[in-house]
């Protein structure tokens, strides 16, 4: 069993690479990613698990990195927005005007990316279930809805109405 009492060098697997970081037992993953590795794509928005701006994927599942201790991530695969390499959702967000200020975007991208992998045929209820974890304050969510739907099976032709 791993026992950490104070600042200790540990290894995290981030975006496909093993990275050594210094962490205290109380450090949250969001802090380590930003302050130790300079991966500032994950944003602090509430540091309370309410807004989703800090979402990363842990073994492919969206996790709010403000609610996870750094040491809990040892031995797991961490994927941050910086690790997305031309994922369809990135292009889809750009093409559907899925953001304005961009602060919530990393978190939304991670949730959508995971959703598209785990439920490529997701219906509206499933999409809503997944995306309600995050807050966007700039858009009307309609653009984000188009962005996610255009990368799920069935594509954008399913989207009805609207002049957008």
């Amino acid at each position: 069993m791993l026992k950490i009492l104070d600042s200790t060098v540990i290894t995290l697997n981030v975006n496909g690479e093993d990275r050594k970081v210094v962490a205290k037992p109380s450090d949250i993953l969001l802090y380590t990613l930003r302050n130790e590795l300079g991966l500032t794509g994950a944003k602090p928005g509430c540091e309370n698990g309410d807004c989703g701006a800090c979402t990363v994927l842990i073994d492919d599942i969206p996790i709010k990195s403000c609610l996870m201790l750094t040491v809990e991530a040892i031995g797991k695969r961490i994927l941050t927005v910086e690790g997305l390499k031309n994922a369809p959702i990135q292009k889809s967000f750009v093409e559907n005007w899925g953001f304005q200020c961009g602060y919530c975007t990393s978190g939304f991208l991670m949730v959508c990316h995971s959703l598209s992998k785990m439920h490529p045929d997701a219906d509206d209820v499933t999409i809503q279930d997944w995306l309600q974890s995050n807050i966007c304050r700039c858009t009307g969510y309609q653009e984000i809805e188009y962005a996610i739907k255009s990368i799920l099976n069935g594509g954008s032709s399913d989207i009805e109405g609207s002049t957008f």
Binding site: D50, C51, L84, C101, G102, Q128, I135, R137, T139, Y141
Partner: protein
Amino acid sequence: MEKPKIGVDTKRLEAWDKVTGTAKYNADFITPDTLHAVMLASPYAHAKIKKIDIKKALKSEGVLAVITGEDAPYLTGSMIHDRPPIARDRVRYFGEPVAVVVANTEEQGMKGVSLIDVKYEELPAVNKIKDAIKENPILIHKDLSRYTYAATDIYPKANTNIMDHVKIRKGNMKLGWSESDVVVESTFFLPQSDHIAMETRNSAAQIMHDGTVIINTSTQGPFAVKEELSDIFKIPEGKIIVKTPLVGGAFGGKATIQLEYIAYLASLAVGGKKVLVRNTREEDIMSSPGKLGVEGYVKIGATYDGMIKALECIYYVDCGAYADTAPRMAKSIASDCSGPYNIENIYCDSYSVYTNHGYTTSFRGFGHTASTFCIERILDKLAKKLSMDPSELRIKNAIKENDTSPTQDKITLSNTGDLNACINKLKKLINWEEGTLIENEDGMIKAKGMACLWKTSNSPTDATSGAIITTNSDGSLNLNFGATEIGPGMKTTMAMLLAEKLKMGVEKIHVFMDVNTQVSPMHWKTVASMTTFMVGNAVLKAADDLIKQLKQVGAIALKCQPEDLDVGNEMIYMKTDPSKFVFFKDVVHGYKYENGNAVWGEIIAKGNFIMRQLTPLDKETGKGKSGMSWTVGAQAVEIEYDPRMHTYRLIKAATVMDVGKTINPKTSKGLVMGGMNMGFGLATREEFIHDDDCILQTTSLRTYKVMRFGEQPEYIVDFVETPQMGAPFGARGLAEHGILGIPAAFANAMSLATKEEFDTLPIFPETIYKKKKEVEQ
């Protein structure tokens, strides 16, 4: 020839930065030499500070300094100098900063804060507007009449909690009422709430050896930060440099100065080292300023055929514990109190009131959401009394050429647009004619509500902007201006304007994405939906300057007169024979003759803009000019109400706005939809709730609810284009306006569906249930 840029969907320049995590916001620039300031917040809404013991905190590991109000004998405020950056002697709202710990790490700072011991003597708090304005109230600012003022047109009443009173006196009220066959009156209430920009406010300060102050901050107004820091701390403006990268949402909440003061004081306390202060979400909600609350009383009179003859309104604006920009919003409410309608006789009092709630600052719509709610609700009540279709009543009274505004400003088609065209287009989009109230066989009730909107800028009368263009040897251009990128894509809009003017590709315009007050030309503030208008005009002027210079140097290269030339596709060419040309790249850094001699040097172009003909409002009549133009529009909401459960579903919402000219259609629609979504937040859930001791209860995103994915209705946005003279390609402001009419249109639909009157926001299913119960009893 290059294709047109204006009116063509153009992706924001920084789009890929924002989907790859490379877009940097202020608190993303993490450096090991940065110290952290952490605030201690007041647990009381109103109390005397008897004693602050910082000894233990100072001994705590990593703590370098602790500062309290005693170390900062300053009073700040953009209107009234009434707010100490750190509370002194007393606290006036729950969450007010009382002490600041500077430490090596944020964690050590938090530990230090927990070791500060403050002794308070609790005072009774003013928790309601009615308690603030009653006879012999508890005074929140005993020194109100002794404060100094940053504005000249502000009229506080000594020994009261009223910090300002704006009056509108237009026409003849006696005549107006005598001409009215029908009179309707009501009171309305909109609670205080919050901006909830996803990036919480944060600022860093560093003081260099020569006294130069460097502020890195998430703000809408880097130049205002410079100005006010200079004013308060008596630092020459030239010695202050403010830098702002991308901003993670603002909505008015980052247009004022708060954490910048604290960051500066914190840096001063540790010998000028770089100190960052970053709000937690809780601090962003409770300690930093929010959105004003409004209580409105409105009385309206009309003839039987629906011509409005008189309007009387009294507004009490809950500004909270300090003035900040709130009196300007009370003024803005008064200035546009008629809504976009022609009313000849108007009497309006708008009072800015202190309470022991959190203080407030500009918020999307600048007070107009409140006035729109009141006027659009009363219009529906009037329509009901007249048995008239609400849309007809609005069409009949819509403001048009040669009418006057409440401040007696002359209305032209150019300075407002075509409201009736908006209403008519809206009615088609929302299928108004099928009926506004439809009961389905399953018992569900479908209802539609409408609201119109208008808003002007309410800027200072001398608000100014600038733009600078420099050139690259590949023929591309660099564009630099002082508006921050807070989300609406203004950097992209400006690139589009310049590209259109130069007839070249947008991708060849490189915009300086940050703002650095030492490098960027001044822009008043990125607020009031004024960036396209103000900075756009400066950019177009700079483009003219650039073209003039290009033609001058081109004339040398082509051995002709500048007037013989035109520009396009990064070339300067002969009008009569475009095959005779020089490329930009060969002249922008000077023209070199064959023998090696050279002339001219780098082409650097500039443009500026200042607001025209604006005046403050007359103290007694409100006569004056608050903005150069309005944007008008119409909005509708369709809901489905379940009369058994008193729940509702948002089905559809539409906006048609006269934007003059759509510069970047998808971006414009996105801005309007975002505004509408925020409007639904205000309509259905967002509010500050204070307990009996005036303690804010909604301090996290768990207790303060915002719209989430999937709760939004289907959004439909469309535009009417009546150009505004003197605006870039005729374009009006539109960034705030989507929010304005949504709460009113929603409340109108709910009132219709439930057959009850909803005049208070937000409207929860529980509110409907209670109202129904009340009526039953």
